[in-house]
């Protein structure tokens, strides 16, 4: 049992709250950039770029990125998981907001 290193769920607005920290973020794929990077839309509609992606060419439309916050608009990926092509971003965005405000105690 280990809760020492949680990875908060974030959108673009919350990225800047966790500079240098490991976070989880679901992005809608906009454009793959080579084989190791891509840019995507967060659940609150902002562009974010992701670097050091294991294999950017086989990504589905929605991708969960677990990685370290590099800047307000970029993440250095540790793991990418294909979340398929049918993912409800608006519900996810509301979850992100709740998990970082009034219900933070259940998560981090």
């Amino acid at each position: 049992m280990d809760t020492s290193n949680p990875a908060p769920l974030v959108n673009a607005e919350l990225l800047k709250r966790y500079p240098g920290r490991r976070v989880r973020c679901v992005l809608k794929l906009v454009r793959a950039e080579g084989n190791s990077a891509f840019s995507g839309l967060t659940s609150d509609g902002m562009h974010v770029s992701v670097k050091q992606v294991p294999s950017a060419t086989s990504l589905s439309q929605y991708v969960e990125v677990i990685g370290v916050v590099d800047s307000d608009r970029s993440i250095r990926a540790e793991m990418c998981t294909n979340f398929g092509d049918n993912f409800d971003m608006s519900s996810f965005n509301q979850l992100v907001q709740m998990a970082n405000s009034e219900h933070q105690s259940l998560f981090i």
């Binding site: 049992m1 949680p6 990875a7 908060p8 519900s91 509301q94 709740m98 998560f107």
Partner: protein
């Protein structure tokens, strides 16, 4: 759906048969913070006995042995060990286990246990996630059930701003929630907040069904935010009002309602 909220709705009224047989969706963080009964090592969260739990997260460090398979489940709030015993004869089980690989998201159903001070889950079902809206759903459900159980037990809860229309009221209407804060009109005068909370802990079905009632420490653990002295004072007040009585010793009390 009613029984999934830790058995709150539809529990029998009679004493001695009010165990929670519902299913609690939890985050690993909630599991790590669950309180433990001093008498029998069972857990409770938000005032509900923890029995069946469901968690959802990513598989790490999967280890397969001849009698069991175990892995760490990481749901972003923490990591917990999950163990599943293997039958050997059961092909469905074997298929389920083969589908487990590191990095796969799974939904686990099982029991929360403690072994040598460490908490772990003994799973009876581990299923890969196929529609990832289930991830969002699981965490929203954790929030919802937490709010529902906390409110029902009279704990201080900040007003939620849940905007999804489905979650405006507890599902299933009709039967009232079991854990309504007890009627205070018989007491007369004003009971302060601590006394009210302590009294409602004693009025919970699991407390009413216990022979020896609750230890002072168990009560104090269930209502964070009050000192042990405040809890003791509240208990003394309740004894004087005839609402609770001491059982096996001066540290155990039970509601006169039971």
């Amino acid at each position: 759906m009613q029984s999934s909220y830790g058995g709150v709705l539809g529990l029998s009224q009679k004493s001695g048969g009010t165990q929670n047989t519902g299913l609690l969706p939890l985050t690993v963080k909630q599991i790590s913070e669950a309180a433990q009964n001093s008498s029998d090592d069972t857990f409770y969260i938000d005032g509900i006995d923890v029995n069946n739990v469901t968690i959802l997260g990513m598989v790490h460090n999967k280890e397969e042995r001849s009698t069991d398979v175990s892995f760490l489940l990481d749901d972003g709030t923490g990591r917990v060990e999950v163990k599943r015993w293997i039958d050997g004869q059961d092909t469905f089980e074997n298929e389920q286990i083969a589908a487990l690989q590191d990095g796969v998201y799974v939904r686990v159903h099982g029991h929360l246990r403690s072994f040598q001070g460490k908490r772990n889950i003994v799973a009876f079902s581990v299923r890969p996630v196929t529609d990832f809206n289930e991830v969002t759903y699981h965490f929203l459900e954790c929030i919802f059930v937490h709010l529902h159980n906390s409110k029902a037990n009279g704990m201080a809860v900040k007003g939620p701003s849940i905007s999804s229309p489905n979650y405006g009221n507890p599902v299933g209407g009709g039967a009232p929630s079991q854990y309504v804060t007890p009627n205070m009109t018989g007491v007369g005068g004003s009971m302060d907040e601590c006394q009210k909370r302590v009294h409602s802990v004693f009025e919970e079905p699991s407390s009413l069904s216990s022979e020896v009632g609750l230890h002072i420490d168990d009560v104090a653990r269930r209502i964070p935010g009050f000192t042990k002295k405040q809890v003791k004072d509240a208990i003394e007040f309740l004894v004087n009002e005839g609402l609770i009585y001491s059982t096996i010793d001066d540290d155990h009390y039970k509601s006169t309602n039971g």
